[in-house]
């Protein structure tokens, strides 16, 4: 359709779309960072989409008979959204080949999934879809837990965070699974990390992904007021802190290389991010857990050192 080297349309806030394509009236939480990211993405991607949605918070976007989408939406089980996307892609290709619909009425196939499905149950279906070179956009909103069922730990929960299933004084003992690295290791067409708090960076990445073909990952950190324990009004602020502390570096993978698309130097200490969320409160009270705080800072420093 279009040229991958075409210059970006989005350079400043003023360039962002001013009409909101995604309908309001959805039942997601006030201040949901995942909804914020998805809405910004949908405005750039446009309405010519089929959204294949794995069970999770975002599947409450469309609760019969209501839908906020302008295009079609398909609900899938937690593990199988990429398989559903394959079916939709095949159907579209066949309809176009048989001239039942004209080629210029093709639609973008978009998987919409939480981190629990993406890095757990849905991972093998995703991996297979990448192997097959499926032509789709894969949007994972990462609220770092099984949000819809009450924020149980997922493979994407960060080390030390308290969740509904890790209530002890040390929180989640595991380490956050690096879904971006898993994708990159499989050589997709494109992969990027995004966040609602950086809408221009987000819009540029969506614009880029839209012009390409093949498996494309957009991985959005999704600050979650009830799951992470912060006031909904701080949703954007928490997102900004995630980027500015290096907890959520804004990355892009294309042409075999990972680059950082936005730098904030010097980085803020991770504590500035952690101390704003109740899921990390036990690291500060009743006494500071120096060991865990230092371990988290070191992990962030090392991750940031790996990308330029």
């Amino acid at each position: 359709m279009s040229d991958a080297d075409e210059p970006t349309r989005y350079r400043r806030m003023q360039d962002l779309p001013s009409t909101h394509l995604l309908g309001s009236g959805t039942s997601l939480c006030a201040g949901c960072g995942g909804l914020g990211a998805f809405r910004e993405l949908y405005e750039v991607l446009g309405e010519r989409t089929v959204v294949v949605n794995a069970a999770g918070c975002m599947s409450l976007l469309a609760t019969h008979p209501f839908t906020p989408f302008r295009g079609s939406w398909l609900y899938s089980a937690m593990a199988s959204a990429p398989a559903g996307a394959q079916g939709v892609r095949d159907a579209l290709d066949i309809l176009i080949a048989k001239r039942r619909i004209p080629a210029d009425e093709d639609l973008d196939v978009v998987v919409l999934t939480g981190d629990g499905a993406a890095s757990g149950m849905g991972l093998s279906a995703t991996s297979a879809a990448i192997d097959r070179g499926l032509d789709f956009i894969y949007l994972c909103y990462d609220n770092e837990g099984y949000g819809n069922t009450g924020q149980q730990s997922s493979a994407s929960t960060p080390h030390g965070a308290r969740t509904a299933t890790d209530r002890g004084p040390r929180g989640y003992p595991g380490v956050k699974k690096d879904l971006f690295a898993l994708w990159v290791a499989n050589r997709p067409a494109y992969a990027a990390t995004i966040i609602a708090a950086e809408p221009v960076d987000l819009a540029r990445k969506v614009e880029k992904a839209k012009r390409m073909k093949g498996p494309r990952l957009l991985l959005a950190l999704a600050p979650c007021p009830p799951g992470w324990g912060f006031d909904p009004k701080d949703s954007i602020e928490i997102g900004r802190l995630a980027v500015r502390t290096g907890v959520w570096p804004l990355l892009e993978y294309a042409d075999g290389r990972v680059v950082r698309t936005k730098h904030y130097e010097p980085r803020l200490p991770v504590e500035r991010y952690l101390e704003r969320q109740r899921r990390f409160a036990h690291l500060f009270e009743p006494r500071r857990d120096e060991q865990t705080l230092a371990a988290i800072q070191t992990a962030v420093d090392e991750a940031c050192a790996r990308v330029t």
Partner: protein, 308 residues
């Protein structure tokens, strides 16, 4: 049997309140049932929880057809038809409202001749404890007159065990304050001896005609129906744009509103859609010149609902 319903908004601890009340009755030797009913499962959305208690085994199931006591933790819900606060209230039902407005004013507003009580409880903005639910439980327990202070205390300990000592103490203090406030009405709520509801008639064969595709498959055929759902009902605080202070900056508020509830009119002025603004206050938090004021929604509780 006592049948009691608590109403509040997601995040106010209404489910916990019902558990506390049921536990206190259990400690007193009652058989009990408690069951929460979530709508959208979201913070801010209307939630209710029902408690049944009897000296004999409880064979009733499902939602009771009427309640002896309806405790309302958030007065703004009385203006929200969808919350169904007064559903099936009859002349025997007591209404308990958390409100700074006197009971006789509520009586005249609601067209009731008697059986309305109020209790006061200020909750600091952003308080995340189950304070409202605990206070409703304390007030309701007192109005039943069959729960001792000691039983309420043991129920609070049991049900709030997972919270920090500070949070437990704050919730218990609110519960006992409400208990004290309703001393004059101790025992006013009496048991309804008769079983409720006639046996259901045998189901008859019903022909369900097929819906037209536009009705049966809105996710494919009819875009953007979600705007019919007015999530403005969730709001307890209201953002108000001060036109004189607004700099028509690059529509920061509009880009960051997760719900897309702020549109920009042709002369660059932001405008909030109150039918769909959930009151997260992200807009107020990101507005650089602080042009967005925050007002309490409570005063507007009994404004008639706009339809359409």
């Amino acid at each position: 049997m006592y049948r009691i319903r608590l109403h509040g908004r997601g995040g106010q601890g209404i489910q916990t309140g019902a558990r506390i009340l049921a536990s206190a009755l259990f400690v007193e030797g009652f058989e009990t049932q408690d069951s929460p009913l979530y709508g959208a499962e979201r913070r801010g959305a209307p939630v209710s929880a029902t408690v049944r208690a009897a000296r004999a085994p409880i064979r009733e199931r499902g939602l009771p057809a009427r309640a002896d006591l309806i405790a309302v933790g958030d007065e703004s819900l009385l203006g929200v038809a969808a919350a169904g606060v007064l559903r099936d209230a009859d002349e025997r039902s007591w209404l308990l409202i958390r409100s700074g407005v006197a009971a006789e004013i509520w009586r005249s507003r609601l067209g009731r001749s008697e059986r309305v009580a109020t209790f006061a409880l200020e909750v600091e903005e952003g308080a995340e404890l189950p304070l409202v639910g605990a206070a409703c439980a304390g007030a309701a327990a007192r109005m039943l007159g069959v729960v001792s202070r000691a039983s309420l205390e043991s129920a609070l300990e049991r049900e709030l065990a997972a919270l920090s000592a500070q949070a437990r103490a704050a919730s218990a203090a609110r519960a006992f304050a409400a208990w004290d406030e309703l001393a004059a009405l101790a025992g006013c709520v009496t048991e309804e001896p008769a079983p409720i509801g006639a046996p259901l008639p045998r189901p008859d064969w019903v022909d369900v005609p097929l819906d037209p595709a536009d009705v049966a498959a809105p996710d494919i055929r009819v875009p953007l129906t979600s705007v019919q759902v007015r999530t403005g009902l969730w709001r307890t605080l209201r953002p108000v744009i001060d036109d004189a202070l607004c700099r028509r900056c690059s529509w920061l508020c509009s880009s960051f509103c997760p719900d897309g509830a702020i549109s920009i009119d042709p002369d660059g002025r932001p405008c909030i859609d109150y039918d769909h603004c959930k009151g997260c206050l992200v807009c107020a938090a990101v507005c650089p010149p602080h042009a967005i004021r925050v007002e309490r929604e409570a005063g507007r509780a009994t404004e008639p609902e706009k339809v359409g």
